[in-house]
């Protein structure tokens, strides 16, 4: 019974988000241009070296296009609807709903991370395959491992988003912590530079952090750079961090609710 209500939240939010089509088109063009620029920069770097690299130039190109396709799945902003609820005092209604608040907010976040991503990723991937010569998954097993890991990446992103949303109960705007988090996500997920190209000494540190589960893990499974047979241990890393953010979010939420003051009347 409870599951049905969370599913209803996800699908309602999903359908409302699919309405923003012209924003999606503008975003699509931007991301294609971005992808082309980044591909050219990496091609120039690869043509400057003759020594072996931890990742081939062609793999990096596919990695970049995957990054552009699934950009919208990253935890890069906070739920502005929730923010206005917190500002206006409408948050009071959220508290009387007969559902678990954290799960409810996380359901919203799941839809919010998935709908825009799907709208952008499909046309972008079609373009990248046909025009830019993006490679398909290394093997069928790699493709399957990618799909599983990508789902975990979206859940991880939603867990981080929900945690950021919860912090708004303290800060009202939430802009500061979101900016900080997004900065860390950009660098340590692999969005700016694929993680295998980072200096060797930094690899253990990067591997321990949660952010590679958003980008690097699924993309390298796609490329076969991480063999599909290694999926369990990488999935375990993603699940560990999902759990960590959910627990942190729940603790923060229950603390905040103990002292919540509903504004507005």
């Amino acid at each position: 019974m409870a599951l049905v209500s969370y599913w209803a939240v996800i699908s309602a939010r999903f359908r409302s988000l699919l309405q923003y089509r012209s924003a999606a088109l503008a975003g699509l063009v931007t991301q294609i241009v971005w992808g082309i620029i980044r591909v050219m920069i990496f091609q120039a770097f690869y043509s400057s070296t003759t020594t072996g690299q931890p990742m081939s130039g062609r793999d990096v190109e596919t990695y970049i296009w995957l990054g552009q396709a699934f950009l919208a799945a990253l935890p890069w902003n906070i739920d502005t609807d929730l923010r206005s609820l917190i500002r206006s005092g409408g948050i009071g209604y959220e508290l009387v709903r007969p559902v678990d608040l954290h799960t409810y907010w996380m359901s919203r976040a799941l839809a919010w991370r998935t709908a825009p991503m799907l709208m952008r990723s499909i046309p972008l991937l079609v373009f990248a395959f046909i025009v830019m010569g993006m490679a398909p998954p290394a093997t069928v097993a790699a493709g399957a491992a990618f799909m599983i890991s990508m789902c975990a990446a979206i859940v991880l992103s939603s867990a981080i988003t929900t945690f950021l949303n919860v912090t708004m109960l303290w800060t009202i705007t939430g802009d500061g912590i979101t900016q900080l988090t997004f900065g860390l996500v950009l660098i340590f997920s692999g969005m700016l530079v694929p993680l295998p190209l980072f200096p060797d000494w930094s690899q253990p540190l990067i591997n321990a952090m949660p952010f590679r589960g958003l980008v690097d893990t699924p993309y390298r499974l796609y490329l076969g750079h991480i063999p599909a047979s290694d999926l369990p241990q990488h999935l375990a890393h993603q699940l560990f961090w999902i759990l960590a953010f959910v627990v942190a979010g729940r603790i923060a939420l229950s603390r905040a609710l103990r002292r919540v003051v509903v504004q507005g009347g």
Binding site: V29, F45, L180, I187
Partner: protein, 269 residues
Amino acid sequence: MSVVDSLYVYGRFLTVSVRAQMQYRASFLMQLGGRLIVTAGEFAAILILFDRFGSLLEWNVYQVAFIYGIVNVSFAVADALTTGFDLFGDMVKTGDFDRLLLRPRSTALQLAGQELTLRRISRLTPGIVALIWASTGLDLHWTIPNAALLVASVIGGASLFASLIVFQATLAFWTTETLEMMNTVTYGGVETTQYPINIYRPWFRNFFTFGIPLATVSYFPALAIMGIPDPLGTPIWFQYVAPAIGVGVLVISLQVWRIGVRHYLSTGS
């Protein structure tokens, strides 16, 4: 109105804006920190790639950092001074622009002084750090012509970025909403021109050299200051006059803006 008077009014606008932002100090500091991480991350990416690959075609890390510095300082200056133009689309929609027309100062001046977002200035930090770091590594000779050319290049670059933002806002006079697509050119331009322009394919290079000359106002002066002959073969005199193009485009864009103001019909709401 005299120039001195304009500058005075402009200074007053900015002071008010800065004071308003400092009212939310904690949030402001966190935003500043976040912005710093994002922009520093882009610079870190360059360092990581050079650590891995050693060189970028004929360029070493200091030369690229120098170009990166010029472009980012230029963009930071332009971005901080044109926030009002970013908000302009909304002002047309709500009719708020009408209020600006009633005041006895030029609309461009009022918009430029609308808001000086301090966090936008955070983009200056990595740019300046990159410039200083690069000039120690490059053993540059800071002769008067070189220093003047650096300043001219930043002014030229900032003018060109500002004119793009003004152009984008001007379109709103006719379309009533800002065209998001223009952001692709502006931000894509930053992303592109922070690397030497000769690394790109010719069609793309030509777009940012002749079409929207963002590379022209930063890349060519940088070559002259660093004393490197251009791999693309431009003469040295051109590298010295290139920044003027940016200022020229800004003057044109402000003229187009005036035409827009004359054609402005309030939405009436």
